[in-house]
């Protein structure tokens, strides 16, 4: 809402020393945030004064242009000893006798252009006669500004003041609950209240009791509570809008149209009551306010024929619809240049009805915006009357005294407040009950003692936001100002800190980042083709897509079911920017269709039932948090320290193992054929639980075909695991075993097995066979070659044995090793290398 200061002070008498900046602060402090405070003249440095054009000589130029050599009287600013200045002007509308704004030499215009006396077209032009846009006051460059004033302005006086440019205009962000502040009247009332000024309501005349001596009106819908109809006759269609009104409309952000429309807009801005003007001669029979019937149509003022919904509230006459209530009038009853009789409408329409209608027809307007936030029904008659008076004063109209008032001002709901200490308690301030009462009364609330020790509060008709006790708390708070509120840190009860899962997740993120991976957070949207390009098979859970009804882009209408598409996109972006050595990771939710029963929408006035709560929480997609990574290029770049180390499937596994070890989990691995991974370089990752393995994801090299379709560097590697599941399997409360003080005995074994046998399986067999003396075991070498035999490979393990209570002999260790090898032989046909 744009509010010129001069308009506010017409109704609010403010303290003499109240500066515009102080008022802006007070507004903001009261919740009426001043977004900008404009003084258009501030951009002009120097003098712009009124000039009286005494003489104009037209001088055609060789280039075909006609310049006008003008003598302009600028009063006290005339050159010494002279009665005018000579100024060259190009505009065709400069005429002798006109009063015009003159920019004096030395003045800098908003464009940064400095006016100087200079020689042009054979004259010394000693200033400039200017157009609106040159002063930065508008975009009109049709011609120079000409003042039409009665009486004439004085040559030499400040033209900017006359243009209304010396006007402070506040642009205030009015929140949805403060509909009464979408008017000069409402803002003036607030300004007076919060700065200790005095407010005089120009719209105090109440709505009369229902009467129907004017134009007949029938209300056929509860969505129209009140309809005031007032007729004026003898309107002079040639009357134009006075400059002061145009200027204020413009300052408030509205364009001047025709005088009757400008008057209705002016009164709306001032009172907050949207008005509509009908050409009374075109209204056929009684006005009926009713809901549309399905299939009805109306051509609105913007010449668009609109098909109506049965929910649209209409103004109709015998001819059918003549207006969309509160949104836009119809074309057939439009006020035109021949209109002499005007029917003024000031009505109260239900906020929800207007809101739905204007959205349905995409017809947001100043009127609909006000109705949606709740108009003060109490002002309807005064507003119609004010508009009629302006038509009388400015267009010579006569006001027909016979009026119609259909319906009544809706009653405001009273509230019984048990304890006037509530505002102080909730605000955290000392506020005496007397102060609460005086603030609320100044806000227009009717405060009556009782029943009992309680207090009954009835809001004024313009405060439809005051319903609950806390609404009054806020009103008191706004009027005191939130800066008065103390700062007090509440003592929370002893907390449990982070949960195991939260600690685990943070440990994983920190460890993976510390291991050299860079976290990214791409957008979580995918398309079905992404899964095709990953070659995910049809039965894969990643195909359980969740579609967005209104996606931002039809190219990505689904929520991700895997993190890989987002990560691959990040790889593409990095490589396109010449970063080729990449180790990226992401931790985030994937979405897989779950319980698709429609969600419940319980009554909000009571706690939902246990069953409803359960439904609210479970009728949602499955949303496990995944951890995924992708690598390409070199893990380690070449340096004096050594050659480069290209990424391999091992680095992808490394990410998962880093995460697992941050949680104290040992990951199991088995070779897997799983797209989008390379069938020979993919490890399925799992955790052993009670002898079984829970499989959580995969790591490995990306299939070369997938690399190609995604335009990834060759040998890109990737990993994705279900992090929630991994965290759930993490151990807690580990046990510290007593340490043996005896030296260890080491034994190495080299075993030959079939090439297809997994090293981890042989290791398991060795561990199981070795018995309790085995402290640790690791694979330290593997190779295949002619000396081993076709289809065979050699695996070398290092076994460390230690006794708890004694130093083991070589013989002890050898016996255990032989048992280990025997088990490996039994399970996997392993034989010791000769």
């Amino acid at each position: 809402m744009k509010a010129p200061l001069s308009w506010l002070t017409e109704f609010a008498q403010l303290s003499q020393d109240m500066t515009p900046a102080a008022l802006a602060n007070a507004f903001t402090e009261a919740g009426l945030q001043v977004e900008t405070m404009d003084d258009p003249s501030a951009a002009i440095k120097g003098l712009v004064v009124v000039g009286h054009v005494l003489d104009v000589v037209e001088e055609p130029q060789k280039n075909g242009k006609v310049i006008r050599w003008c003598q302009v009287d600028v009063g006290e600013h005339n050159p010494e000893g002279q009665s005018s200045r000579g100024i060259v002007c190009g505009a065709p509308n400069v005429e002798a006798g006109a009063f015009v704004p003159v920019v004096l030499p030395g003045t800098v215009l908003p464009s940064g252009f400095e006016i100087a006396s200079r020689k042009t077209y054979g004259h010394i032009s000693d200033g400039m006669i200017c157009a609106e846009d040159e002063l930065g006051l508008g975009d009109d460059h049709e011609g120079i500004i000409v003042f039409h004033r009665d009486p004439d302005p004085t040559p030499g006086e400040d033209a900017l003041a006359l243009l209304g440019a010396r006007e402070v205009v506040f642009d205030i962000d009015v929140t949805p609950d403060e509909g009464h502040c979408l008017s000069i009247r409402g803002l003036a009332r607030e300004a007076a209240q919060i700065t200790g000024g005095v407010f005089a309501d120009p719209y105090a005349t109440p709505v009369p009791a229902p009467v129907s001596v004017g134009h007949p009106v029938v209300l056929d819908s509860a969505d129209c509570a009140l309809f005031v109809a007032l007729t004026v006759t003898g309107v002079d269609p040639t009357a134009t809008t006075p400059e002061w009104m145009t200027r204020r409309l413009k300052a408030a952000g509205m364009r001047s149209v025709t005088l009757p429309v400008d008057i209705t807009n002016y009164v709306m801005l001032e009172s907050g009551q949207p008005l509509h003007a009908y050409d009374a001669a075109c209204v056929a029979g009684p006005i009926r306010v009713r809901k549309a019937t399905q299939g009805e149509s109306l051509t609105t003022l913007d010449h668009v024929k609109r098909t109506l919904s049965s929910e649209d509230l209409l103004i109709t006459d015998d001819s059918g619809p003549i207006g969309l209530a509160g949104v836009m009038g119809g074309l057939t009853t439009e006020v035109t240049e021949t209109t002499t009789q005007i029917l003024l409408e000031a009505a109260w329409f239900h906020p929800v009805s207007v809101g739905r209608t204007y959205r349905r027809h995409r017809l947001a307007s100043e009127a609909s915006r006000r109705f949606e936030r709740g108009v003060d029904a109490g002002v309807a008659y005064a507003a119609a009357r004010r508009a009629a008076e302006l038509l009388r004063d400015l267009a010579g109209a006569q006001i027909v005294d016979d009026i119609t008032v259909a319906g009544a001002v809706p009653t405001m709901p009273s509230l019984v407040m048990d304890d006037l200490a509530l505002p102080g308690r909730i605000l955290g301030l000392e506020v005496a009950p007397e102060r609460v009462i005086s603030i609320l009364e100044a806000s227009g609330v009717e405060v009556t003692p009782g029943p009992g020790s309680a207090t009954t509060l009835t809001p004024p008709t313009w405060r439809r936001d005051l319903i609950d006790p806390y609404d009054y708390v806020e009103e008191v708070g706004r009027k005191i100002g939130f800066s008065a509120i103390a700062s007090r840190v509440p003592a929370a009860p002893v907390g449990g800190g982070y949960t195991q899962a939260q600690k685990g997740r943070r440990a994983v993120l920190n460890a993976v980042a510390a291991a050299g991976f860079v976290e990214v957070i791409p957008l979580p949207f995918i398309c079905a083709e992404d899964l095709d390009r990953l070659e995910v098979d049809e039965a894969d859970p990643a195909r359980r897509l969740v579609r967005i009804a209104n996606p931002l882009s039809e190219a990505q209408p689904f929520l991700r079911t895997t993190l890989l598409p987002g990560l691959f996109g990040c790889v593409n972006r990095n490589t396109s920017r010449s970063m080729e050595d990449l180790a990226l990771f992401e931790c985030g939710s994937v979405f897989r269709a779950g319980d698709e029963t429609p969600q419940v929408m319980p009554d909000v006035s009571v706690r939902p039932t246990g069953e409803q709560i359960d439904q609210l929480f479970t009728r949602l997609p499955d949303q496990p948090r995944h951890l995924a990574g992708v690598l390409s290029g070199d893990w380690r770049v070449a340096s004096g320290h050594g050659p480069s180390e290209p990424v391999t499937w091992r680095h992808a596994v490394h990410l998962a193992e880093t995460a697992a070890s941050a949680l104290g989990v040992h990951l199991r691995r088995r070779s897997a054929e799983k797209l989008p991974w390379h069938p020979g370089r993919c490890a399925e990752l799992g955790v052993e639980v009670d002898g079984d393995v829970v499989w959580l994801g995969w790591a490995g090299e990306v299939h070369p075909r997938v690399c190609q379709t995604w335009d990834l560097p060759a040998r890109t590697c990737a990993v994705e695991i279900d992090l929630d599941a991994l965290i759930a399997l993490a151990p807690s409360n580990g046990v510290i075993h007593p340490l043996s003080k005896h030296p260890a005995t080491k034994q190495d074994v080299a075993l030959v097995v079939d090439e297809s046998v997994a090293a981890a399986d042989v290791l398991d067999a060795l561990r199981d066979g070795a018995g309790p003396l085995l402290e640790s075991i690791s694979l330290f070498d593997q190779f295949a070659g002619a000396q081993i035999g076709e289809g065979k490979k050699s695996l070398a393990y290092s076994l460390v044995f230690r006794g708890e209570d004694r130093t083991l002999t070589e013989a002890d260790a050898t016996t255990a090793r032989d048992a280990a090898v025997a088990e490996a032989g039994r399970r996997w046909g392993a034989v010791m290398r000769a």
Partner: protein, 358 residues
């Protein structure tokens, strides 16, 4: 056996050791040691011959030989130490390397600034005894809107603002704020509650330099006996100081949100210019756009209607809630100029804020 023999032997041995040292020869030193301390050394031989002396001379001669051997051993040790020291000095000199060359070249990892900031902010609250609450991103419409006092016609619910899961009439949405976690908390935890909820939120916004369709918020909720706006202010002041230093100041401006009443916008006094850029074109401030204050989030006293939807007795309990954009916080805190960088995954972005630099 004469006194002079022993002194001569010691002198000869010392000379031999010094000669070896002069040649920097360990071999010669070992040879000299064998010659003067070995079994065929003169004093060793003399020692073996002590038995031939008269008993009354034996004791004195023996002592003299012992003293001579000790002197030779001492001389040897000193020369050996000198030689070792020289050797070490030479080795150290030969082993000199350029320590400015690249060292172990592990890749440089980093958390995303959003994650890092979530961790920092959560730590502040956990230190105050608060707990971390969580909820899903695909959420029940009721929890996101209805339970939070959004009317059925509230514009935030329109498809132009909110992403709905298909079909929309099944009332599942992508949460538009972290506030549904408030309702989840009130429905599942015992009172009092003091929780913060970090997480991802969704809006039907096109991506540009200042908008992301998916961004991050942190939400706070406290419900207890006797809580009010002063407690909210105290909590936010504490957070501001923890994040921006002891000088940090916040301000509450009345505002409107359906789920709080009274509601406020929370501003942070600019921690860069401290308000000195306001009306001072000579000293513009990029962080606060020369406004002196930075809008940091929305907050207020929990609307009793919200508590009622969770079945809480509003005559006994009251609460406060707040929420702020974490992406925006990174923007003004770390001078990031383009939100698109947050989602594009360029490795240079996250790597700029490692360790405590964030």
């Amino acid at each position: 056996m004469a006194q002079i023999d022993i002194d001569t032997s010691v002198e000869e041995a010392s000379q031999a050791f010094l000669a070896a040292y002069a040649e920097h020869s360990c071999d010669h030193l070992v040879q000299a040691r064998n010659a003067h301390l070995g079994k065929d050394a003169p004093l060793r031989t003399a020692q073996r011959q002590l038995g031939a002396l008269a008993p009354e001379d034996r004791k004195q001669a023996g002592a003299q030989i012992q003293a001579g051997l000790a002197a030779i051993t001492d001389a040897y040790s000193r020369v050996e130490a000198l030689l070792d020291a020289d050797d070490l000095a030479q080795r150290l000199s030969e082993e000199r390397e350029d320590v400015t060359v690249p060292v172990v070249m592990n890749p440089v990892g980093a958390l995303h600034p959003i994650t890092a900031l979530f961790h920092d902010m959560c730590d502040v609250f956990v230190a105050m005894g608060w707990e971390i609450a969580e909820g899903p991103e695909a959420e029940a419409e009721w929890l996101n809107f209805d339970a939070l006092n959004f009317t059925p016609d509230h514009p935030a619910r329109f498809m132009s603002d909110t992403l709905f899961l298909d079909p929309p009439e099944d009332h599942r949405i992508l949460r538009t704020h972290t506030s549904p976690v408030q309702m989840r908390t009130l429905l599942t935890r015992d009172l009092p509650v003091y929780v913060v909820a970090p997480g991802k939120v969704y809006r039907a916004d096109e991506m540009d330099a200042t908008h992301l369709p998916v961004f991050h918020q942190i939400e706070g909720l406290a419900v207890d006996k006797g809580l009010g706006l002063a407690d909210l202010k105290g909590t936010l002041d504490h957070l501001a100081k923890a994040m921006f230093g002891d000088e940090a100041v916040t301000r509450l401006r009345p505002h409107y949100f359906p789920f709080t009443e009274p509601s406020a916008e929370m501003d942070l006094k600019c921690f860069v210019c401290h308000g000195e850029s306001v009306g001072n074109p000579a000293r513009p401030c990029r962080t606060c756009r020369s406004e002196g204050w930075i809008e940091w989030g929305g907050c207020g006293v929990v609307n009793p209607r919200v508590l009622r939807a969770a079945g809480i007795d509003t005559d006994v309990y009251s609460g406060f809630a707040f929420g702020m954009g974490v992406d925006r916080t990174v923007m003004f805190r770390n001078n990031a100029s383009d939100l698109r960088d947050f989602a594009e995954g360029d490795i240079r972005f996250s790597r700029q804020l490692v360790g405590e630099a964030r």
